[in-house]
C-alpha cells in the first residue's frame, strides 16, 4: 500500500523507530543499544499463510456464490406439484453438504431435471475449488522458504519465552555440543545456533532435560544473534565456538556493541584473531592450541595440579581423570604447524630439550627442525628416539599421528606418548594404541568454558592452582576424593548476604563471630567435615585460596564450595533457616514462634 500515508500515520501516532537515536544520544546510553526486535520476526506465519491462500479462497467463495445463486434461480417442483424455487438458505445448505461430499440427497423436495443439471455444474466447480485450495496448502507446507519462516518464528517465540538466564552458543560442533549437554545437566538453559542445518538436526535428536531452542542461522549476522536472544534480559553469556575465527570475531563484536553487559567467550586458533577480539571490550578468548601446551607444562611441573584442574572443570557426567605424569628429558615433537610449534615453545619454556620433525616445505624455516615425514623410519631415527623420553604426535592428520606413534614405539617402547586427536571418530584407535596424554581440542574447550559460565570463582581458583605446588594439590586431591570418590564434584558459590544465606547474614549482622569451620562441620562431630570443601573465599577484591577452618567470616563474603549434593543441601539449609543455623552453631533448639521465643527468653 502507500508508504507516504504510512509515514504520515507513524508520525501521527508517534512511532519511535527513527527519531530516538539522534546525534545527541550518548553512545553508551542504555536506550537504543538494547534489544531491537529483529525484522525477521515480523514475518508472522498467519500473514504468510493468508497471502498464499488468497487466490484459492477467493476461488472457493466465487464457486459457492455461483452455485448457490444458480440453485435459487433454477425452477423446481414441490411435493404438491406446484412450481417452486429454493431459498438462499436451502441452496446454501444443499451446497454445504454436497460440496464437502457428504451428500444428504435432494432436500427438501426431489429436484427437477433443470435443477439436477445445475447441480452437476455446481459439484464439478466445487470439487475443483476444493482441490485447488488443498493443493495450495500442501504445496505451501512443502515450500522450503515457508518452512524456514515457520522455524524462525517458532525459534524466536521459544527464545522469548525463556524466563531464566540462558547461554547462547554460536557453533555447536563437537565442543559446542558437549558444552550444551553439560550446561543442560547442570540446569542451565541453552540457545544454540549453527550455520550447518545437520548439526542443528543432530542436536534436536539428543535427550536434553529442558527444551533447547536451536536454529540453523549464520552467527555472523547481528540480526540473527538478536533473534537468538542477545537482546533478552535473560541472556547470561554468549559463547562463540564456531570453527571460523572470522565468525567468532563477528559474534564478539556484535555482543560488545549491542550488549556490553553480557559476558562473551570466544574460541580462536590464531593469536591475530585473539588480538582483534580483545579490542572489543573484555571477551574471554580461548585458544585450544595454545592451551594444550600450557596444560602439558602444568602436568610436567605438577601432575597433581593437572589432575585437580581436569577434575574440577570436568563436565558433570565424567569421572575422575587419571594422574598424568609427563617425564622430564628430551622430547620429540612431530609436526611444527600452529599446534606443534605452540607445544614445542611451551616445552622449551619449561626448560626441556625439544627435537622437532616436520614435513619439508611446510610453515617453518627453523634450521633445528628435522625435515621429512615422521612416519618414515629413517627420518624418525634422526631424532634419536632411543634417548628421548616422550613423543608428541601433533600433526592435523590422525592417520599420520597414529603411524608416527607406531613407528616411534618400535624404536623405543617406553616413550611417553602425547597425541593430538583431530577426529572424534578416531578416538577408539587412539585408545587402542595407548596414548598417555591425549590432546583433544573439544575437551580442552569444555574444561575452559564450563567453569567460566557456571562458577566464575572456579575459573579464578583454577588459574591459581599451578602456582601452589605439588604437595598442596595432592593434599587437596585427597580431601576431595574422600567426599566425591571418582565422580565429578558439584561446584557452587555461597554468598553471605540476605538473598543467598539470610540466616547466616543475620547472624553476622548481629555482630556474632563465625568461623568457616563452624558451618562446614557435621553437627555433633567437630572433626567430621560436611561433603563440601571450601576452595576459595573472596572478600571484596581479596582472594583467599583454600581457607582454613578457623577463617573468620564477614558479611558479603563469597565462598566457592565443591562437594556432593548432600553437602550443598546441608549448607543451603544452614544459610536459609534460623533454626538450622542455631542448631548447628549453638547446639540447641531455638524456638521459631514468637510465643515460644518469649518463653525461652524468660526461662533462660
Amino acid at each position: 500500500m502507500s508508504t507516504s500515508l504510512l509515514v504520515f500515520l507513524q508520525r501521527l501516532l508517534g512511532s519511535e523507530s527513527e527519531t530516538v537515536a539522534g546525534p545527541g544520544y550518548e553512545r553508551r546510553g542504555a536506550g537504543w543499544r538494547r534489544a531491537r526486535p529483529a525484522p525477521v520476526q515480523a514475518t508472522s506465519t498467519i500473514f504468510l499463510v493468508l497471502r498464499r491462500l488468497r487466490p484459492p479462497l477467493i476461488a472457493l467463495i466465487l464457486v459457492y456464490a455461483i452455485a448457490v445463486l444458480g440453485l435459487t434461480l433454477v425452477p423446481g417442483v414441490d411435493d404438491q406439484g406446484r412450481p417452486w424455487k429454493m431459498s438462499f438458505f436451502q441452496a446454501f445448505y444443499f451446497m454445504t453438504y454436497t460440496a464437502t461430499s457428504i451428500g444428504f440427497g435432494e432436500i427438501p423436495y426431489p429436484f427437477s431435471n433443470a435443477q439436477r443439471m445445475w447441480v452437476i455444474v455446481s459439484i464439478y466447480l466445487a470439487v475443483i475449488g476444493w482441490a485447488y485450495t488443498i493443493a495450495t496448502v500442501l504445496w505451501m507446507l512443502r515450500d522450503r522458504g515457508f518452512r524456514q519462516a515457520i522455524a524462525v518464528r517458532r525459534f524466536a517465540a521459544r527464545v522469548r519465552a525463556l524466563g531464566e538466564p540462558f547461554v547462547l552458543i554460536a557453533g555447536v560442533g563437537r565442543a559446542g555440543r558437549r558444552l550444551a549437554r553439560a550446561l543442560d545437566v547442570l540446569g542451565w538453559r541453552v540457545v544454540a545456533i549453527d550455520i550447518a542445518p545437520e548439526r542443528i538436526d543432530e542436536l534436536a535428536l539428543e535427550p536434553f532435560h529442558s527444551d533447547m531452542p536451536a536454529l540453523a542461522i549464520d552467527a555472523r549476522d547481528p540480526e540473527n544473534l538478536l533473534l537468538a536472544g542477545l537482546g533478552s534480559p535473560s541472556c547470561h553469556t554468549v559463547v562463540a565456538l564456531t570453527g571460523d575465527d572470522e565468525a567468532n570475531l563477528a559474534v564478539v563484536m556484535t555482543v560488545a556493541l549491542q550488549r556490553a553487559d553480557v559476558a562473551v567467550i570466544a574460541r580462536t586458533e590464531s593469536r591475530l584473531a585473539a588480538e582483534r577480539m580483545r579490542a572489543f571490550g573484555e571477551p574471554i578468548v580461548i585458544n585450544p592450541f595454545d592451551l594444550h601446551g600450557d596444560y602439558l607444562r602444568v602436568a610436567i611441573a605438577s601432575p597433581s595440579a593437572m589432575q585437580l584442574i581436569e577434575w574440577l572443570t570436568a563436565d558433570p557426567h565424567a569421572t575422575r581423570p587419571p594422574l598424568r605424569t609427563p617425564p622430564r628429558g628430551r622430547w620429540i615433537v612431530c609436526g611444527h604447524g600452529r599446534f606443534g610449534s605452540e607445544v614445542a615453545a611451551d616445552l622449551r619454556a619449561e626448560g626441556l630439550e625439544v627435537t622437532t620433525i616436520d614435513v619439508a616445505g611446510s610453515t617453518t624455516d627453523d634450521p633445528t627442525v628435522i625435515t621429512g615425514s615422521a612416519t618414515e623410519t629413517a627420518v624418525l631415527a634422526n631424532a634419536r628416539p632411543l634417548d628421548a623420553v616422550a613423543l608428541v604426535a601433533a600433526t592435523d592428520n590422525d592417520t599420520t599421528n597414529l603411524s608416527v606413534i607406531a613407528t616411534a614405539r618400535r624404536f623405543n617402547p617406553s616413550l611417553y606418548i602425547v597425541a593430538r586427536e583431530n577426529q572424534p571418530s578416531n578416538a577408539p584407535l587412539f585408545r587402542a594404541i595407548g596414548v598417555d596424554f591425549p590432546m583433544i581440542p573439544a575437551h580442552i574447550l569444555l574444561h575452559e568454558v564450563l567453569p567460566r559460565i557456571v562458577a566464575p570463582l572456579l575459573a579464578r581458583f583454577v588459574a591459581a592452582i599451578p602456582g601452589q605446588g605439588e604437595a598442596w594439590a595432592a593434599a587437596l586431591l585427597v580431601r576431595l576424593a574422600k567426599h566425591c570418590g571418582d565422580t565429578v564434584p558439584l561446584r557452587w558459590r555461597m554468598r553471605l548476604d540476605t538473598t543467598d544465606a539470610p540466616a547466616l547474614a543475620r547472624w553476622l549482622a548481629a555482630g556474632r563471630g563465625l568461623a568457616l569451620g563452624e558451618i562446614t562441620r557435621v553437627r555433633g562431630d567437630a572433626d567430621e567435615e560436611l561433603p563440601a570443601v571450601p576452595l576459595l573465599l573472596m572478600r571484596g577484591t581479596e582472594v583467599i585460596l583454600t581457607p582454613s577452618a578457623d577463617q573468620a567470616l564477614a558479611p558479603a563474603d563469597e565462598i566457592l564450595f565443591v562437594g556432593t549434593a548432600q553437602g550443598r543441601r546441608a549448607l543451603a539449609w544452614l544459610g536459609e533457616s534460623d533454626e538450622a543455623r542455631d542448631w548447628a552453631l549453638l547446639g540447641r533448639h531455638v524456638p521459631s514462634g514468637w510465643i515460644w521465643r518469649r518463653f525461652a527468653r524468660t526461662g533462660s
Binding site: 507516504s4 504510512l6 504468510l48
Partner: protein, 128 residues
Amino acid sequence: MNLEKVIFGFFVLLAASVNFGFVYGEIDNLAHHNEYELFAALVVSLVATMLKFGDRTQIGAVHLATSLVADLQLIAATVVWAYAAHVSAAGVTPQAMAGVVSLAIGALLANLVSVVMLVAETLSFQRR
C-alpha cells in the same frame, strides 16, 4: 495503471455500493429489500476480505479489520433472515426485516470507512 489496484478498488467500491443498494428504502418494508442484493453484498464483501489478506502495512491491517466487520454484520443479517423465513413460525415480519436491514446498515458503515481509506490512500499517492 496497476491491475491489482483496479481489482482491489473495484471490489471495495462494489461491496459498499451493493450494500447501500440493499439497505436503501424503508427499514421494515419487505418490498424495498431484495434478498439477491444481500447475497451479492455478502459475496462481494467476502471476496474483498480475501483481497486484503496478507498486507502487513498498518493501513492494510485497518482495511482488513473494516472488511471483517462488514462480513460479520452481513453474515448476521443473512442468518437473521434465514431464521425468520425457515425457523420462526411468524415468517419474515417487518420487525425481522428491520433487524436484517439495520445489521446491513452497520456493514455499510464499515464499507464506507474502507472506501474513505481507499480514497485517502489514492490522494496521498498522487500528491507525491
